[in-house]
């Protein structure tokens, strides 16, 4: 594992890796091949909302990342998760974009592959 990933793993896993946070921290994906009639969900409140301003989105936080962390805290997620996210925010503050420092095959791979999730 390249050093940058070790760094990231270390500060995240120190906080949360061994904690039983999963059930509270992540919505459970619809189970595959179940016996329900439908996998549809009711639309989220965010889908119903026409738009939100930057002022409202920040909700008093200094930036978007801290606004997202605050929402997680308000949603009752485990404190270990919040600590990890705060650590990520600090990491980015201090180091900037980690992809900018990628070199060689890793940089090429990241550039070539349009990651479908992020």
């Amino acid at each position: 594992v390249p050093i940058s990933e070790l760094d990231i793993l270390e500060f995240v896993s120190d906080s949360v890796l061994l904690q039983p946070f999963h059930r509270r921290s992540a919505p459970k994906p619809m189970s595959y091949n179940d016996d329900t009639n439908s996998f549809f969900e009711a639309p989220s409140d965010e889908l119903k909302q026409t738009s939100v301003t930057l002022t409202d989105l920040l909700n008093g936080e200094p930036d978007l990342l801290h606004a997202a962390i605050a929402r997680w805290r308000d949603a009752g997620h485990a404190e270990q998760c919040i600590d990890a996210l705060e650590a990520i925010a600090n990491y980015l503050d201090q180091n900037g974009d980690p992809q900018a420092s990628m070199t060689g095959i890793r940089a090429k791979r990241a550039e070539d592959f349009v990651y479908p999730v992020f």
Partner: protein
């Protein structure tokens, strides 16, 4: 022009960055960033597209607001959730995840505020809401069911809506990680094409195969309910935890090995393409039927990347009971999200409400209709930059190209003659198209009748795979003579089928029975004896209907060509070479002309013939290598 809020919409930082400028319901401008930066599917903040759109603002006006097509805080929350729920298997994705977080947190914030300064005038809307707005608000319908299907937004991957008047109401949702778009992308990758750009190639490959693996897909990869809702079997996918869509076990389900880019396509991969196309078509059909049932509508609007699957779209038109009419947003990918977000904000903007009651002579609640070309509010999707005659001439002179200036009637006649002579034309005229399809203004045009035309254009002009078919432009008034189940298709988003009278007697299965399995050899057995360059092996064609109001130049050329040859159809493909975005500027068009075997270049009313040029001017052909797309 409607006197309503002036809004700039922006999409980006994922793929297909774009900007759009609207005034009320009137779309003034829209363009993708890739066209300016010449980097295909450019995902960076669309600085050049924004600059272009802002230049199109009416004199003396100022922006009422800027809107980003998705909610970055929600997206961050999904990333957090994904990271924690997949820890620590997802470590490979962390650098990209952190990079995305950083970009959204700093660049997005700063760039948006750089445009309007005031944070209360910077807006965000949900990704799927932007798509839904792009599908419904410019559509010709007052009331319609709306279906959005793509890879993923913040959480949504599939949504069903009711569109009514100015409002959109979400009805149902399927959320990440269950995604029809990502399932299709997994097969795209497995068949050797690039995720998020090669999906249309997989669709083009499908007619060469047989859907032998449909049951394996339903049994192992996706559980689809009768209402079209679905869940994926995540043990065979890796997009949550790695820089790949598929897990090693994916191969055990579908058989064979994943193809590497540019490897020869095997019959097995053709069958996989046919199989995932069949599954996609079935799921979209069920979803659309549910959308009609829930809304009680007989009209349907589509958007999201999956709406670019014109095979599925065409199937809806032909076979969905209760569907009277369908409209597909021509920029159905993420670029169109910029337009949808802007339209909805402009229509719902408080600034507009204020103006409605303060402006004398404007009846409250009755905004003026936008300018219409054809039946919708998209201005024929010709929303990008156009260039002055002086700029066009300058581009030719700087390349030392000899040209002839023709008036409009002369140009149309000349180009009809060029087509009849078998010449291949790079046609650059007027405003650039918005969306992934070239619709005539940045198009390569050719006569579809000669047997060798498909390979000439594929191999000598586009430098792409020789098996890939081209789309036909057909004069709208003659469409029914050539194609079954004709449907108005101005944006090349519907597949239709060539009438039996024009099909050759040779069936694909018969050719395969003779031991054939090579895509290139297949071209010796054309599926149509009259129109081989635009007919696929299942006799399907990705149709574009041409009307005089949609594109008067192209309609004029085709009418003259038809008068002379009796053929109301020409071949149309995007004006670019493999791996590059469609040309935007006159300079791009000149470079493409010089680096390919195009016979004719048209810039507005300037006509350039390769055979008239000095040899040293056109000696660059073959010296430029084009990368895979």
């Amino acid at each position: 022009m409607a006197d309503d809020s002036l809004i700039l919409g922006i999409s980006g930082l994922f793929h297909d960055s774009a900007a759009a400028l609207v005034r009320g319901r009137d779309v003034l401008a829209a363009a993708s960033e890739e066209r300016f930066t010449r980097k295909k599917a450019d995902a960076s903040f669309p600085t050049a597209a924004v600059k272009y759109c802002l230049k199109q603002m009416p004199r003396g006006t100022k922006l009422d607001g800027v809107v980003f097509y998705e909610n970055p805080v929600l997206k961050m929350e999904r990333m957090f959730s994904n990271m924690f729920s997949t820890m620590s298997h997802g470590a490979r994705t962390y650098p990209q995840m952190l990079s995305t977080l950083h970009t959204m947190n700093t660049e997005l914030h700063d760039q948006l505020l750089g445009i309007v300064k005031d944070p209360s005038r910077v807006h965000f809307t949900a990704h799927h809401r932007s798509h839904a707005a792009s599908a419904f608000l410019p559509s010709p319908f007052e009331r319609a069911a709306v279906l959005v299907v793509d890879g993923v937004g913040e959480w949504s991957t599939t949504t069903l809506w009711l569109g009514e008047g100015d409002t959109l109401t979400p009805l149902r949702e399927i959320r990440f990680p269950n995604s029809l778009g990502l399932l299709y992308s997994a097969f795209t990758q497995y068949c050797g094409f690039r995720v998020n750009s090669g999906e249309y190639k997989l669709m083009g490959l499908a007619p060469f195969g047989r859907p032998l693996h449909v049951d394996a897909i339903y049994d192992n990869l996706i559980d689809v309910k009768p209402d079209g809702s679905f869940a994926l079997n995540h043990k065979h996918f890796r997009y949550r935890t790695d820089l790949t869509t598929i897990a090693p076990s994916f191969a055990s389900v579908v058989g064979g090995e994943p193809l590497s880019p540019d490897a020869p396509v095997t019959p097995h991969h053709m069958n996989l393409a046919a199989s995932i196309q069949a599954v996609t078509t079935e799921v979209v059909h069920r979803l659309a039927r549910t959308a009609l049932d829930l809304t009680g509508c007989d009209t349907l609007c589509l958007a999201g990347g999956v709406a670019l699957n014109c095979v599925s779209n065409g199937e809806l038109v032909r076979n969905l009971p209760g569907l009277r009419d369908v409209w597909v947003q021509p920029a159905s990918g993420d670029a169109g999200g910029a337009l949808g977000a802007a339209l909805e904000l402009a229509i719902s903007s408080p600034a507009r409400e204020k103006r409605r009651v303060t402006l004398p002579g404007l009846r409250p609640g009755a905004p003026k209709s936008p300018e219409k070309i054809g039946r919708d509010g998209m201005r024929a999707a010709l929303l990008g930059p156009e260039y002055s005659g002086r700029s066009l001439a300058r581009a030719l002179k700087s390349a030392s190209l000899k040209y002839t200036e023709l008036d409009e009637a002369e140009m149309q006649s000349q180009l009809a003659r060029d087509l009849e002579d078998g010449l291949i034309i790079g046609h650059f005229n007027g405003r650039m198209e918005f969306g992934p399809r070239a619709l005539g203004n940045r198009s390569i045009l050719a006569d579809p009748r000669p047997q060798e035309m498909l390979q000439r254009v594929n191999l000598k002009i586009k430098f792409r795979e020789g098996w890939r078919p081209f789309a036909p432009m057909v004069l709208a008034e003659h469409c029914a003579e050539y194609f079954s189940a004709p449907h108005d298709s101005p944006y090349m988003l519907m597949v239709s089928y060539l009438d039996d009278r024009f099909r050759s007697d040779i069936a694909l299965e018969d050719i395969k029975a003779q031991g054939w399995c090579n895509l290139m050899d297949l071209r010796r057995f054309p599926p149509s004896s009259e129109l081989p360059a635009i007919t696929h092996y299942d006799h399907s064609a990705r149709l574009q209907t041409i009307s005089p109001e949609g594109n008067p130049r192209i309609h004029g050329i085709m009418s003259r060509f038809h008068d002379s040859t009796g053929c109301p159809i020409i071949l149309n493909t995007s004006f670019n070479v493999r791996g590059e975005p469609i040309v935007c500027s006159p300079g791009d068009a000149v470079r493409c002309f010089l680096n390919t075997h195009l016979d004719v270049l048209v810039l507005g009313n300037l006509h350039v013939r390769r055979s008239d040029q000095d040899k040293d001017v056109v000696a660059t052909i073959g010296k430029v290598k084009f990368s895979a797309d």
